[in-house]
């Protein structure tokens, strides 16, 4: 286990999440991709915390996790409403407005 490998994993998660945003076709999985990116960011924070040996990063990550959960709950609700009406929820389901 090295700091480098942790940063590598963090970067891979961030990049993979971003890729997932463009690869996955469902709104739900697009949203989940953002969560992977967030996990990458959290891992980076904790790695820095390990280097600095500080408790603050733990607190930050805990808050970020809570915030993310709250965000996801609301976003998921919004998607669920679309699903309820449209039977599916890809990005094409919500592309009425443009231009």
């Amino acid at each position: 286990m090295s700091v480098f490998s942790l940063f590598l994993l963090s970067a891979l998660l961030f990049a993979g999440g971003m890729a997932g945003f463009f690869i996955r076709r469902d709104l739900v999985t697009m949203l989940l991709s953002s969560e992977i990116m967030l996990a990458g960011a959290n891992l980076a924070l904790l790695t820095f915390a390990t280097m600095r040996n500080s408790i603050e990063a733990d607190a930050i990550v805990l808050i970020v996790l809570t915030v993310a959960a709250a965000e996801v709950a609301v976003a998921l609700a919004a998607i669920a409403v679309v699903v309820r009406r449209k039977e599916e929820a890809t990005e094409r389901t919500v592309s009425e407005m443009k231009g």
């Binding site: 390990t50 733990d58 709250a70």
Partner: protein, 155 residues
């Protein structure tokens, strides 16, 4: 030994990500992410942040993923594939429950000299981060109200 476990978790988390990215079925993609988050929780614990690892696993691999699966089920379930989803989510749930128990009884921090206890974290929250702690509760309240408002049907 710990190093070996770390690298296994490392590979597993990336494998979960890979399946998520390239699997065609939405439900399996989501379920595979549970693997990623579970391994990440393990890595957190190895780094000495066992509590956060627990939270991550409970929150993501548990609640969030199951929530996602439910929504996916709403979509896919209508085409008659509901059964496999129920199976998948039960497996994920059991696995998560097991991991949480393991992490909660975790005492060691193999890659770190000093480890913080959960109590210290609590003190930090009550002293230094009190404002943020309160703000987070405001956020959760807002999120609850928001979700309810969004999900409410038209009168």
């Amino acid at each position: 030994m710990w190093n070996f476990i770390y690298w296994i978790l490392f590979v597993l988390s990336l494998a979960g990500l890979g399946v998520f990215l390239f699997c065609r079925r939405e439900d399996r993609a989501v379920a595979s992410l549970a693997l990623t988050f579970a391994s990440l929780g393990g890595i957190f614990a190895l780094m000495g942040h066992a509590f956060l690892g627990t939270i991550l696993v409970m929150l993501y691999a548990g609640a969030v993923i199951v929530g996602f699966i439910v929504v996916v089920w709403l979509i896919v379930g209508k085409s008659g594939e509901g059964k496999s989803l129920v199976t998948i989510s039960s497996i994920v749930f059991l696995a998560v429950a097991f991991e949480v128990i393991v992490l909660l009884s975790w005492k060691k921090a193999p890659f770190k000299s000093i480890s913080f206890s959960t109590a210290e974290l609590g003190v930090f929250f009550m002293k230094d981060y009190l404002y943020l702690f309160e703000l987070t509760s405001l956020l959760i309240l807002t999120a609850v109200v928001s979700s309810l408002v969004i999900l409410r049907r038209r009168k």
